[in-house]
Symmetry: D2
Subunit: 330 residues, 4 copies
């Protein structure tokens, strides 16, 4: 039975807390959040302890693992504190917005043989896993091109954008991780372009809302990523992998399988599931399941701090490319 | 070069005339229609002769084959006249509305070794042919159930219905032919139900607008047919064949492959092609091609007067079942 | 908090037990099953009491509701016992295989104002609910035809078939309930045909493996049902509702949204979810949720003993039609 | 009646010749090809004159328009000769592989008010036209991103590649034209990457077989193009246009609408139509129809030499970007 502390009782903390509570191999011991009554409210609902002090929660003798869902700028210190105390860690991404700080943290975790998993939830989606399994099974031969479409249903609050690190680091970072995972090789060159087509006012924050990225690996495999902060038809998450003997696509999820036929259109399907909490509900569950399984079995973490570092590095390169109009070597 | 006379210059005569004119193995000699200027107008457009006398057209020495697209009650006499003159015949269905008259005609054609093909256009549709080819290739093992959906875009004119023989004989007759062709066995029992859900006024004509038919063969294969005179979303033509090792479906045709995504619906496709002239344009071409090929090669006609007779017999049985509420033995 | 006893610890009892345990508004008090260690094993896993005596479990003061998942021939006596004790009941279908016994039981439940829900799980499937909602919202106008396809992945064990009441009563009964629910009117006439195309040996049990049923309502709405005990491509569950202003279809569920393209085929999708436990996992959850909600709010049960009675009656009529070759009035 | 000369009796010349012969508003006068018996064979088949001298054919008094389907390096001189003689021209793309030569030719055509259409066949595909119509109708609001997938079924002969100008100029040029047409604005910056993943031996020709291109317009609209010389599942031609109020996709064409379900996969569709002659058969017809209509009505040509020039310019920029690893300003 893995005894778990949740750090951060916000939107993502709630998801993790529910999954811990529902997992028969885990026990939710404590939820810690320094802000107001968030931890208490959530703990009362799930029947565990609450605290205003994440550091203290990490230190408890009856806690084996911590899940870090606090604001990004606290990730590194909490992660390192937990690793030093010998606790396993599931840390939300990005590890940090500053690649130097991330490099130092990854280095220390590796020195200490820390057990840290970075929460790239999309890798645990059943359809994404099937893509990876099909590639591994040789269904499409050698991978040639990967095409990733990733559009959010609507602009996040301005306040979020101000502190998020920008669209490359808060949104496309997921797609950079997918790209590495599906390409099966590291991208060595990044070309990007970015625009403000949804909200021209983002210029004051030096941010963008619409982007395209193009990458290649040493052997010449190619990847395209497109993102937009707003798609009126819903949260659009598609992937295509084209190989020497076939192609794989995965489509969006919808609440039902109903199709409608009328005078004005045929085969009309439901709108898409609205956003990541609904779209990736199963993925979040599977992510925590695999975290528990890796700890129990002592096998390698399915995603590592190195993965978190690489995705951030690609985001930084893409931003540089978009600003300079040059291909950037990774 | 097959020299062809077209009898009847109406809607279906025009289709046949254009296909004859466009076929490099055939020559359109004459179009005959006793009504007004229809034959002349069409002949002028296509560059052939016109006549008001179908019987005379059949008799011409420079005519090898006739296509009969005149009103139903003239089919038998024109067909028999042509057969007696040694001409090949492509005859629109139904052969006649009276099964006794059809039986006599089929008997005479067979006695004379007449070369007659009945125009069941749907058998020549590329998707329908693929269904039959896939069944023949053993793709789905033994056929167990056939499900045929057949809905027209809208009610025909009242005047048409008055003389058509009713929904079972003018509309479902196509589906009875499909049923026999796809089942690969003759239906031996028919159960039907019919309603007036589109136009209650059809009661004065003792006709219906919405029906379901259920049939079985001697070995126990089953077939369901559903028809309706009106589908607001267009001409709906689908078939499903379920077998011991798989299933085949064929979907409707549309003018383009575009799909639309908006706030209100996703994957929205075009409306269906409106009606049989558009939907089966390729089938009409292929039907004539195979008529020519059968004549040139001396091989059996792809559809025979016997096929026309059997489809009408099933229509009669279905009507009787709908009126009596009993299963009718064929 | 609704305190629940589960009667029967077999395949379906396990599903219900897990859903009770996972529902925040319910408490699983006891699992009772007279056979071996089934109740104890399941109770140990879920942390509740176990018993060999279902009748005693019903009588406990700390039990508000019972879920009956025992063999069919015990349903009526357990249901009536619970109703007499004032307990709410969620009873698996069929209520019984003997319509007279069912009629008597339904009568007594109604006399006692018993709170009984019959477990027609498919009505609670998200896609089925969307169909009903779309019909109610007028999306397709007046319903004209309903087409229900229902094929199992493979033959059940011979021993099951011997006691199940046959394909009409154990399998098609679900489709009869769907038919009533989607037609929005009671069928008044049933025509059926049945064959042994999968296993001719079923003749010794006077049972069938492949059937088609056709029904009509007083206003002329029509319904077709097809069933087969074996579909090699998986558990096939589709519905089509055709109305005066449109059509609704619902497709099968699959584990992922991946499509594959290769030399031999394109758009290839996953096999279907294997069988009802997987296919209707969400429906079973929603069924119990609505049972709890109806009890808490005092609103009518979403499905009633009368619904269970009507579905059985249609199954009996269909079997009679298949055996006699006549339309049977309901 | 437009009197037409066809120059070049190869693969594409045959397509044009058949479309001219089948168009009621046009008359095929002569086919000219200096090589062997190609012109004679085709002319005999279609019943027109043949010649070994394209220049003489242009000069004939009974020729109003010429279609140029000769090798690329003869396009400019034949086109200019025809324009000087006052003939209308439908010229295959590319106009030439040398942008300077193209610029000079376009300049002269414009000076002479020449009636020249460049054969970008894809613009005339029914689905592509529907995309453009839907955009123009405001269905998706402002265009934000265009994604074009363009994969050939297999490598062309080495000899073809040696003289084609390379993958950017002979293959992607179609996609550059589509990009301009669908974006509704001129790309101002191009980033490209190219690999040899199908045939490493292309290195001797300094050519590639797999590429990605990324472009942006002055207002920030973005476009991604991906190409590969080989897709084992067939000729893959898809487009996606993402806008502020929706998205449009167009899918590939197949010979039938049949779907197959078996133990190993569900919804399996036919392979794609093999290559451009089949895939764009309707587009070639419509292209010639619009050429005739533009001449008859005196309205602007639907595609102009300027369009041919711009597509080549984008191809040159993309190649430069792939070779230098820099974004290239157009």
């Amino acid at each position: 039975m893995l005894r778990v502390a949740i750090l951060g009782a916000g939107r993502i903390g709630k998801i993790h807390a529910a999954n811990v509570a529902g997992n028969p191999k885990a026990k939710l011991v404590i939820i810690a959040d320094p802000y107001g009554t968030a931890a208490k409210d959530l703990a009362d609902h799930l029947g565990c302890e609450a605290s205003l002090d994440p550091v203290a929660a990490i230190g408890r003798g009856d806690v084996d693992a911590v899940i870090i869902g606090t604001p990004t700028d606290t990730h590194v210190s909490l992660m390192l504190h937990a690793v030093r105390k010998g606790k396993a860690v599931l840390c939300e991404k990005p590890i940090d917005l500053d690649i130097a700080k991330v490099d130092a943290a990854v280095h220390e975790v590796e020195q200490l043989n820390g057990r840290v998993m970075v929460a790239f939830n999309r890798r645990f989606d059943p359809s994404a896993r099937q893509l990876r399994r099909s590639i591994d099974a040789g269904e499409i031969g050698d991978v040639r091109q990967v095409i990733i479409t990733s559009r959010d249903p609507g602009m996040p609050p301005r306040e979020y954008v101000r502190h998020s690190g920008g669209i490359f680091r808060d949104m496309a970072i997921h797609d950079f991780d997918m790209a590495r995972w599906l390409l099966g090789e590291e991208p060595i060159e990044v070309m990007a372009t970015a625009s403000r087509l949804v909200d021209p006012g983002l210029a004051e924050l030096n941010d963008f809302d619409t982007l395209m990225v193009q990458m290649r690996t040493a052997s010449g495999r190619q990847c395209h990523v497109n993102c937009c902060r707003e798609a009126v038809y819903g949260y659009d998450q598609r992937m295509e992998i084209f190989g020497s003997s076939g192609m794989l696509l995965n489509e969006n999820l919808r609440p039902t399988t109903v199709r409608r036929w009328s005078k004005t259109g045929t085969e009309v399907r439901d709108p898409l599931l609205n956003f990541f909490l609904e779209r990736y509900a199963e993925a979040y569950k599977a992510e925590f399941d695999q975290f528990v399984d890796a700890i129990e079995s002592g096998s390698p973490m399915p995603t590592t701090p190195h993965d978190g570092r690489q995705a951030l590095r690609l985001a930084d390169c893409a931003l540089e490319s978009a600003l300079t109009g040059r291909a950037v070597k990774v």
